[in-house]
């Protein structure tokens, strides 16, 4: 019996009785578990085990000196009554949201523009890429110096910055954090969009042009829909990156003024490594894991990332 000549064989049967020539995809070169073992062991050792330890630690009081002491739900109770904790979650979400809102349009436009093959665009794209090559720490230190109220740019542009107290007010400090994050990470997303925009089949544009579609219509009706999957990818990267932001806060604001930019990741660091209250730090970490999980879940559901369709349908 061959599948080619059997007119109405149900697919399950085909799989089971398939002869060598018509093997189903699942059997072709499918690696066994052994192939996944190194990655699985690595992930288990450096992600799952520590996570489990952190769960345990969040129910303990530990200052790193004696053995950890079991304290039940104390850390959690304190955390939920802690106004700084709630504020920090809100700030994390706010900064992440700002990051997405600021970076997506810029990266999208730059990326689509950079997708053109003109030489000047290629040169400028390379220049735009530079911030991504610098370390986050170096970038933060750099911007701190540039934004110094007395000797930096604000001292020369009073009409724009007033007294230059950018890092001394909540709005200013959050603005600076969002700006520095955008300056550094927009290039990455530009790159994603550039690659995706280049992959859009030319025929679509040619057909649209024949139909008399102008530049804007082509952008909104061809480019944007074709970039749908890239937008989702880039947004998820931004959200994950945003929720785990830490270094820019450490260097630029140290959570200040007061606790006005104490985002959860920084709060965790403060608790664990400044106050040596590792139990409380672990609880903050877990709460952040929880929130990040929920946000990712929602994002995956809403965006349809889980059933991502090809944008090549009909071509």
């Amino acid at each position: 019996m061959t599948t080619a000549t059997a007119p109405a064989v149900d697919s399950e049967q085909t799989e089971r009785t398939a002869p060598p020539r018509g093997r189903s995809a699942s059997e072709v070169g499918r690696p066994g578990f052994a192939w996944a073992a190194p990655a699985a062991v690595f992930f288990g050792l450096f992600a799952i085990v520590p996570l489990a330890l952190v769960v345990v630690l969040s129910f303990a009081g530990w200052d790193g000196l004696g053995p950890p002491r079991f304290v039940g739900l104390d850390n959690w109770k304190k955390l939920l009554d802690d106004p700084v904790m709630l504020e920090s979650l809100w700030l994390s979400v706010l900064l992440t949201g700002l990051g997405v809102l600021v970076q997506t349009p810029i990266a999208l436009l730059l990326g689509v523009w950079a997708a053109g093959h003109q030489r000047n665009r290629a040169v400028l794209s390379a220049v735009y890429f530079v911030p991504l090559l610098l370390s986050v720490t170096a970038v933060s230190v750099l911007w701190r110096a540039v934004l110094d109220p007395n000797f930096g740019v604000p001292s020369q542009a009073r009409w724009l910055f007033g007294d230059g107290n950018l890092l001394g007010t909540q709005a200013g400090a959050i603005g600076v954090l969002a700006f520095v994050g955008a300056w550094q990470f927009t290039p990455l997303h530009t790159l994603i969009y550039q690659g995706a925009a280049r992959a859009i089949p030319k025929v679509l544009y040619q057909a649209a042009e024949i139909d008399g579609a102008g530049r804007y219509r082509r952008f909104f009706h061809i480019t944007l829909p074709q970039l749908r999957n890239s937008i989702i990818t880039s947004t998820i990267l931004m959200v994950v990156g945003g929720l785990t932001t830490f270094d820019t806060v450490l260097i630029l604001t140290q959570g200040g003024p007061g606790t006005d930019t104490t985002i959860s990741a920084y709060y965790m660091y403060q608790k664990a490594f400044k106050s040596f209250d590792f139990g409380a730090g672990a609880a903050v970490a877990l709460l952040l894991v929880l929130v990040a999980t929920v946000i990712s879940l929602v994002l995956v559901r809403l965006s349809g990332y889980d059933r991502m369709r090809s944008t090549m349908e009909g071509l």
Binding site: L57, T244, S275, V300
Partner: protein, 435 residues
């Protein structure tokens, strides 16, 4: 199933990476490296330029001692965190650098440190050769736990002589003179006082001095010992009122929280004449010499914190970093060798070497060598201040255990920028654990 595969990636990278960072520190000391330690003592110090001196002293010690000393250093910023993880492990040092006060209190509570009373009984010089106001800092519950081992760093009010001259103001001796100077300088378009509010601890310096001048050192001692009522006393409220008055008078300008000392921001304000005063530790001098040598040589003036009329604190009281200390772990196998090593910390060689790198030691024999320091006038002035100070208040964030630092820093910053009022500040300080 795609859904199952995708989801953990997004979420888990977000969360777990963080969780990892945390728990990694948990797996610290495990393996035993007792091999070769039989006749060694390990000395752990904060890694910076002064290590030169510590190295020299270890070499001197090793020339005569059968038990050899080994110097281990940890780069500055990581010191406290690394110490915390290593001190109760088998790699713990025998002797280690610390800031006295709150920095060793948790170790004393955990029963890790050796009181030095026996050493002092055998060699009274281990105590009597040091200035008492400094030596006291490393006493916990009435017992000595540390021997001073570097230089003292009192906080002083620095000024730009040229700016004061041009404004027709003299260095203020009293609080009222300071307020008047602030008014005059402001009218001239100069920021009266440079403040690196972004670092938070420079802001704290103002609280330390005003509290000490108004209420004397007792108020803070009471508060530190757990008597929370000290913070709501009339003196405490008066001190806060005075600070508020100074801030509201525009003494620090408006953008001080965007300025830092550590990145050279506030020292530059003073050196360029954009500001007239800066309250800072004695290291200000070295900082200015380094960054603005001409200014340091000609126009950098220094003096004590102004007196407060009717205040209970002695005008000669100081605040700041009294010194750094060597403390000893209980489990050391060579207490005699450690005692010998500690004796070197008041030797002539120690004093000369410390002065050579710009530190001001707090031993009683220091005056004999002050002429050899890089800047004898400045060194003598400081030494006299410390020697004559009836009380030398250790910086608040070091007097309390590390757990309190964030709360203190947040409170002083928020009080300055008006996010909390006096009651809010008092409540914050009352939330601190007793030291």
């Amino acid at each position: 199933m795609k859904q199952r595969v995708r989801f953990p990636r997004a979420a888990v990278t977000g969360g777990v990476a963080l969780a990892m960072v945390l728990s990694l520190s948990a797996c610290g000391g495990g393996s035993d490296d007792a091999a070769g330690r039989a006749d060694e003592i390990h000395v752990l110090v904060y890694g910076d330029a002064t290590n030169k001196v510590e190295k020299q002293l270890v070499e001197t010690f090793n020339k005569t001692s059968k038990v050899k000393a080994v110097l281990d250093t940890i780069p500055g910023a990581d010191y406290q965190a690394k110490l915390q993880t290593v001190i109760n492990s088998k790699q713990a040092p025998d002797v280690f650098f610390n800031w006295g006060g709150g920095s060793i209190k948790p170790f004393v509570d955990a029963g890790l440190l050796m009181p030095l009373d026996d050493f002092i009984a055998k060699d009274p010089g281990l105590k009597s050769n040091f200035l008492p106001s400094v030596f006291n800092t490393a006493e916990v519950d009435g017992k000595a736990y540390g021997v001073p081992m570097r230089g003292t760093q009192p906080v002083m009010l620095f000024h730009n002589k040229k700016v004061l001259r041009e404004a027709g103001v003299s260095a203020p001796k009293t609080w009222d003179e300071l307020l008047a100077a602030v008014k005059t300088l402001k009218a001239k378009g100069v920021t009266p006082i440079a403040l690196g509010g972004g670092d938070k601890w420079p802001t704290q310096m103002w609280f330390q001095y005003v509290y000490d001048r108004v209420a004397g050192p007792e108020l803070f001692r009471k508060a530190l010992s757990g008597d929370k009522s000290a913070w709501e006393s009339a003196d405490s409220k008066k001190a806060l009122g005075m600070i508020k008055e100074l801030v509201d008078a525009g003494a620090f300008g408006t953008n001080y929280d965007s300025v830092k000392f550590t990145d050279g921001g506030s020292p530059a304000l003073l050196a360029t004449g954009k500001a007239a005063f800066e309250l800072m530790g004695s290291w200000e001098y070295a900082t200015q010499q380094d960054a603005h040598p001409d200014f340091a040589a000609s126009d950098l003036g220094y003096g004590t914190f102004p007196t407060v009329a009717g205040g209970k604190g002695d005008p000669a009281n100081l605040a700041g970093n009294t010194n750094n200390f060597y403390s000893v772990l209980k489990r050391t196998k060579h207490p005699e060798a450690v005692a010998e090593f500690l004796k070197l910390q008041y030797s002539d060689e120690f004093v000369k070497a410390q002065l050579g790198v710009g530190n001001l030691p707090t031993t009683t024999n220091t005056p004999d060598f002050l002429d050899t320091s890089a800047n004898p006038a400045y060194s003598k002035y400081q030494y006299d201040l410390v020697a004559k100070a009836p009380a030398f208040q250790l910086s608040w964030d070091q007097a309390y255990p590390p757990a309190a630092t964030t709360t203190i820093h947040t409170a002083v910053q928020q009080f300055f920028n008006g996010q909390i009022d006096a009651d809010g500040f008092i409540a914050s300080m009352q939330s601190l654990p007793a030291a």
